[in-house]
């Protein structure tokens, strides 16, 4: 890789005896959309604030395009920040808000007008230029905040849970809009969120934060299909974690004996070594319910504990005598009455082994 746009090297941040970020290193490439995903208090926002220059790290260094920027104040860092509450200037019109970063850079008046107009068109709010922020809806304010952060073409765009205050429909629309802008303009984006589906939708890579460290970093597909730790498996989407012991490992497959006595075939990840105690992760949507296993390699005879209608799917709770698990079942298949005997079956490729 060429020089990364952003490099965090061994970043540590402590408040007194409380360590919020613990020896974290991360490279972000130019043009990459990276999400920092984690529960609140996991250090993701603190890292973003260190990058923006609002917080200083207790230890470690931050580089932008190969130049160390730790000592630079926020106003010399060339980063566009979008805050959760938009943080527009309430006493300035929309046009003045967007013109602000350009004025700070001494851009000529005529050019400012030109670029403000283009930025407004980009977020499809050209008609709003003379309004004040308080006269706009939340979604419109967020678009203006975005336009303001992009208009000066910063090296990096930082977003701190920018969609958190919007309702679901608008949020999903904005996710796609931001994604499109990212691709069209080749932006480098660092996006902080606690919403895993948002991270999956938008990111090139996701860094999953937990207690001040990155638990796993990878593409959405890697994170979802091959979670490295129990925390990641449980935080990203819903999953069934079944305890077991590795019996045999053959090439890229392994056999795991479950606590209930039955054996299943699984994909052998790095965690699969003979007689290791492991957790097998199976996503609820990968499990089929039926009278028999069909073509699928693994089968567990179970009893239906509960089944709930969810609109686009049925959420079925099962018990095979040793563990309970959750299945997302196609709603067009039969209803599953409580107490019914059923075979839960799934492919070995859909089973992922995590060290327990």
């Amino acid at each position: 890789m060429a020089i990364p746009r952003i490099r965090f090297d061994q970043i540590t941040k402590s408040y007194g005896s409380l360590r919020v970020i613990d020896g974290l290193s991360l490279d972000i490439a130019k043009g990459e959309f990276i999400s920092l995903l984690g529960p609140s208090g996991s250090g993701k926002t603190t890292l973003l604030m260190i990058l923006a220059g609002f917080e200083s790290a207790t230890g470690g260094g931050v580089w932008l395009d190969g130049k160390r920027i730790d000592h630079l104040p926020p106003y010399r860092r060339d980063m566009g920040v979008v805050f959760q509450n938009y943080a527009l200037f309430p006493h300035m019109t929309v046009a003045d808000n967007i013109a602000f970063p350009l004025q700070m850079r001494g851009v000529r008046k005529a050019e400012i007008a030109e670029r403000v107009k283009r930025a407004l068109d980009m977020v499809q709010l050209g008609a709003m230029s003379e309004r004040y922020p308080a006269q706009l809806s939340g979604g419109q304010q967020q678009r203006i905040a975005l336009a303001r952060a992009l208009v000066f073409e910063p090296a990096v765009v930082l977003m701190d849970e920018p969609l958190g205050a919007l309702d679901k429909q608008l949020r999903e629309q904005m996710q796609l809009d931001i994604r499109k802008l990212h691709m069209r303009l080749g932006l480098t984006v660092v996006f902080v969120t606690h919403d895993q589906s948002e991270a999956l939708t938008m990111s090139d890579r996701i860094a999953v934060f937990n207690k001040g460290i990155i638990e796993q970093i990878g593409t959405p597909r890697e994170i979802y299909d091959h979670p490295a730790t129990r925390f990641v498996a449980e935080f990203i989407g819903e999953t069934n974690l079944i305890e077991g012991t590795v019996e045999r490992v053959e090439a890229d497959m392994a056999t795991v004996r479950l606590a209930g006595g039955s054996e299943i075939r699984v994909q052998a990840g790095t965690a699969a070594t003979t007689s290791a105690k492991v957790l097998v992760s199976v996503r609820p949507e990968r499990i089929h319910l039926g009278p028999d296993a069909g073509e699928r390699g693994n089968a567990l005879r179970s009893t239906v504990v509960d089944s709930v209608y969810q609109g686009d799917h049925l959420r079925v709770q099962l018990d095979d005598g040793a563990h309970g698990f959750i299945v997302r079942s196609d709603r067009r298949t039969a209803e599953w009455p409580q107490g019914a005997a059923v075979v839960a079956s799934f492919q070995p490729e859909d089973c992922w082994v995590i060290a327990s």
């Binding site: 923006a52 220059g53 609002f54 104040p73 926020p74 106003y75 010399r76 860092r77 060339d78 980063m79 566009g80 920040v81 805050f83 509450n85 943080a87 527009l88 200037f89 309430p90 006493h91 602000f100 970063p101 700070m104 850079r105 004040y132 922020p133 308080a134 006269q135 905040a145 303001r148 952060a149 000066f152 930082l158």
Partner: protein
């Protein structure tokens, strides 16, 4: 029932507050020579007296000069103090209390101290001395008022400005101060009103040339109870109301324009 009682109690409280004004103000228009009811007739002679009699005219001018000086000085210093005390500051609580102290210290104590100090500094019996004295008692009002409006400013808005390339000074100039302007303006009005109203400190530090309207009223009451006092009081109240009304109108205008609270 309870509602009626509430309204009655409210009306009684307001009546208690303004009845002295209602009692004195009509006497400003008396045609008689004494500050008593019943009034023999209606006339503007006492207002005429205010603008023609040298002592009254000069005291009005003095009040305006000292009031404006105090307003400027107290607003600048008070706003600076409020900015400095914003957020978590080492010994912030202590400093805040010190800034508010002139509100609670008896004016007489302050006055004696100032007189001694000002004589030493050579500013006794000067406009500068009176303005300085008034500024001391006006600053707390500005600090309280500006602090209140600074608290209402979202820090993230200032952070956003920093991240957009504005230096801290530019942020202050373009974001913080404009957003705190309602508090600064009402602080300035309060400072002006305080200066206009101040008698005790003026007695100690002002010389015969700095006689303010309030001071003039005070001494006139001792010498002869002339209805000119009521006329001066009338001007006083009208002036204060106008200043307050101007502040409200400005605020409303801004609200309508930006939709801000």
């Amino acid at each position: 029932m309870l509602k009626t009682l509430q309204v009655l109690f409210g009306a009684a409280a307001v009546f208690f507050l303004i009845v002295p004004l209602i009692a004195i103000l009509p006497l400003a228009f008396t045609s008689g020579a004494f500050l008593t009811y019943p009034m023999p007739g209606i006339s503007m002679r006492w207002f005429n007296e205010l603008v023609t009699a040298d002592a009254w005219r000069r005291s009005i001018v003095n009040s305006l000069v000292i009031g404006c000086g105090t307003t400027m000085l107290a607003t600048v210093l008070g706003t600076t103090a409020a900015l400095g005390l914003r957020g978590r500051v080492v010994l912030g609580g202590l400093f805040r209390t010190m800034f508010l102290l002139p509100m609670v210290v008896p004016a007489v104590v302050l006055g004696v101290g100032m007189q001694i100090l000002f004589v030493r500094l050579g500013v006794a019996n000067s406009y500068l001395g009176v303005i300085a004295a008034h500024t001391v008692v006006a600053i707390p009002f500005v600090v309280v008022s500006v602090s209140g409006s600074l608290e209402g400013i979202d820090r993230r808005v200032e952070r956003a400005a920093l991240s957009l390339g504005a230096s801290p000074f530019t942020v202050l100039q373009r974001v913080t101060l404009p957003l705190a302007m309602p508090g600064i303006a009402s602080g300035a009005v309060l400072a002006f009103a305080t200066s206009l109203d101040e008698v005790v400190l003026t007695l100690f530090v002002a010389g015969p040339n700095q006689r303010t309207l309030a001071r003039q009223m005070f001494s006139t009451i001792r010498e002869n109870i002339s209805p000119a006092i009521a006329a001066a009081a009338f001007l006083f109240i009208v002036g204060t109301l106008l200043a307050a009304a101007a502040a409200i109108v400005l605020k409303k205008q801004r609200q309508r324009r930006t939709g801000l609270a």
